[in-house]
């Protein structure tokens, strides 16, 4: 337990008040239109969505997760966190393509890229899945806060879960994405500053870099100091083939749309940027900050390991970075630290509340129930669905126990079978809605089968996660590729419109030639045939 002095409470109360008021101040902007409530009017300079990318992906459970993998695997555990590198290519490939589509959400993008019944089924499916997924994320992040508050103040876990999410909901309900992004900027600055302070404080508390290195060497565990200490090509607990698989997933995944679960919040930030250039830089810079943040945490957790090297319980060593802050910072700064933790927490909560509501409002309510609803009505529906998501997240949160297990499953396995189709839908004109839909359905079944059901019945052994990924990718392709070829290509009118608007990269020659033939694009000699979209 941690005891707060009056100065600690002062920091906490001032910070929470500032964050909530900062969000609520944008009430008038948020209610102007649907585009304001969910995309801040599509007019933000790059550094605002960049701060939001960074703040959103710094959640209460993130330092627990990073602590878990670094404490267990040493510095090579940093590569578990390197999945965010998908933004390295995405910022200049899929971000550009998606920003030009102007779709509010990825679900909406499906009906611009594809056409007919398949596209509508896909949109409905992705929207419904995203409403569920955002509630799920809200639940697990909220529960991480519940656990932290239990550790710090001995509060029952549900108190931390409900209290801070509810405070955050005040400004999300009032100002929508305007409130989210403005509070995110403030929270991002506070959180990054505190991550630097606490991590360096922890390193100093452990005696400084030389002492940490000496201590770890004396324990006979010098491999922990090497981020590239692989245990062999395929053998051991950290094989090189795992690392290469992760690099392929992360880096090549940047060419696709929807290759990572982080794509969905990023899609909202991309569309809120005022230009294509702003969208690219926001995604790149926000993720670069995440990469640096993870490295800061990694060295701090290494410092913690040098102080407490024999912890066996995952639940205990997942608290490594938090313990550095709460056990070593002086009185007065502890409250400042906790206020930053609250900032980290509510920046993630606010994003997922608004994002989940955007799928429920734009993709489900407006598109399928009330296509001609006014902006005023849609903003109110956005608020109502925000509230429903908040309440649903409390229910999910109370059902969850193990954070690391869920996160690794979600990051690695749940996207394995749709990773390649998510790229194909961007780079290959012939890939159609039925193929993509089939890949989703196949993945849902295959992931449970390959990861849990078949090993449980001893039909196959428990496979390493990198093998699970490749197996699911191949098995999935055996299902969705035949379906793609057995069904018709998308309607050429839709493809031409999409191509002219988004200019995707990859294999689009027949569509490009048709667009030139219709006079919508200039040919390679710069001549225009003349025509209408």
């Amino acid at each position: 337990m941690v005891s707060f002095a009056w100065l600690d409470w002062f920091w906490l109360i001032v910070f929470i008040a500032l964050m909530v008021v900062c969000g609520v101040l944008f009430y008038r902007l948020g209610k102007r239109s649907l585009a304001d409530f969910f995309l801040a009017g599509r007019g933000l300079p790059w550094w605002l969505p960049a701060a939001s990318v960074y703040a959103t992906h710094s959640a209460t459970d993130t330092p627990m997760w990073v602590s878990g993998v670094i404490y267990k695997y040493g510095l090579r555990g940093i590569w578990y966190t390197f999945f965010s590198a998908w933004c390295a290519i995405s910022a200049f490939a899929s971000t550009r393509i998606f920003r030009r589509s102007l779709a509010y959400t990825q679900a909406e993008w499906q009906t611009l890229r594809f056409s007919g019944l398949g596209a509508e089924l896909l949109r409905g499916w992705i929207a419904g899945w995203q409403v569920f997924m955002n509630m799920f994320v809200l639940g697990w992040v909220g529960m991480a806060m519940g656990k932290l508050c239990h550790y710090l103040f001995n509060w029952p876990e549900w108190v931390g879960l409900i209290l801070f999410s509810s405070l955050c909901a005040i400004y999300v309900l009032a100002a929508g994405y305007w409130g989210v992004v403005m509070a995110d900027f403030q929270q991002g600055v506070v959180a990054f500053s505190v991550i630097i302070i606490v991590s360096i404080w922890g390193i100093v508390a452990a005696g400084g870099p030389q002492q940490i290195i000496a201590k770890i060497n004396s324990l006979g565990e010098s491999w922990r100091l090497n981020p590239l200490a692989f245990s062999g090509w395929t053998s051991g607990d950290f094989p090189l083939v795992w690392f290469l698989t992760m690099l392929v997933i992360a880096v090549i995944g940047g060419f696709g749309i929807g290759t990572s679960i982080d794509w969905y919040p990023e899609a909202q930030r991309i569309q809120s940027a005022r230009t294509v250039r702003d969208a690219s830089y926001s995604i790149w810079a926000g993720s670069a900050l995440i990469v640096v943040r993870n490295s800061l945490w990694a060295v701090a957790v290494l410092a913690f390991f040098s102080l407490y090297p024999r912890i066996q319980s995952t639940a205990q060593y997942e608290m490594a970075w938090y313990r550095l802050g709460f056990e070593f910072l002086p009185v007065g700064l502890v409250g400042f630290f906790f206020a930053a933790v609250v900032a980290i927490h509510i920046s993630t909560i606010s994003t997922h509340l608004n994002l989940g509501a955007s799928y429920a409002t734009r993709d489900l309510y407006q598109h399928y129930f009330r296509p001609r609803a006014s902006d005023k009505e849609l903003v109110w529906v956005g608020r109502l669905t925000t509230l429903i998501l908040l309440l649903g997240s409390f229910l999910y949160g109370l059902m969850m126990k193990e954070i690391t297990q869920w996160l690794i499953f979600a990051l690695w396995i749940m996207t394995a079978g749709i990773w390649l189709p998510s790229i194909l839908q961007v780079v290959w004109w012939r890939f159609n809605a039925w193929g993509y839909l089939a890949s989703w359905m196949a993945n849902l079944g295959l992931s449970w089968l390959v990861v849990w059901v078949l090993p449980e019945f001893r039909i196959i052994p428990v496979l390493p996660d990198y093998l699970q990924f490749w197996i699911m990718m191949v098995l999935g392709a055996l299902i969705y590729l035949p379906i793609t070829f057995m069904t018709r290509p998308e309607d050429m009118n839709r493809l031409v419109k999409y191509y002219v608007m988004s200019r995707p990269l990859g294999w689009w020659k027949p569509v490009r030639e048709e667009a030139i033939r219709r006079g919508l694009l200039k040919d390679n000699e710069g001549k225009l045939a003349g025509g209408q979209l």
Partner: protein, 96 residues
């Protein structure tokens, strides 16, 4: 850097070119070096600072390569965005 195109017409900027492909190589490399450079620097290894410096240099080169093209794409697209938004709303309202 004469081998890098600075002035782009709207049509040229809309096509994927060597500037894009170079950026696809540089960008993940910068992330990789940032991750390692930060770790090694915090552990007071000299090569950490060198790695960070290289990542900074590569970042500068990457922006020099891609920024003129991104500016050209953005300028041209802004002119068409209003029409595209109207199209989008028609699809949303089942009018198209």
């Amino acid at each position: 850097m004469k081998w890098i195109k600075i002035k782009w017409s709207p049509e040229e900027a809309d096509r994927w070119s060597k500037e894009d492909y170079l950026t696809f190589i540089l960008s993940p490399l910068i992330y990789f070096l940032l991750a390692l450079g930060t770790i090694w620097s915090l552990l007071f290894r000299w090569y950490g600072w060198v790695t960070l410096a290289i990542s900074g240099l590569l970042l500068w080169i990457m922006i020099k390569i891609i920024d003129p093209k991104l500016k050209a794409i953005s300028r041209d697209y802004e002119k068409k965005q209003k029409q595209f938004l109207e199209e989008l709303e028609k699809i949303e309202r089942w009018e198209n």
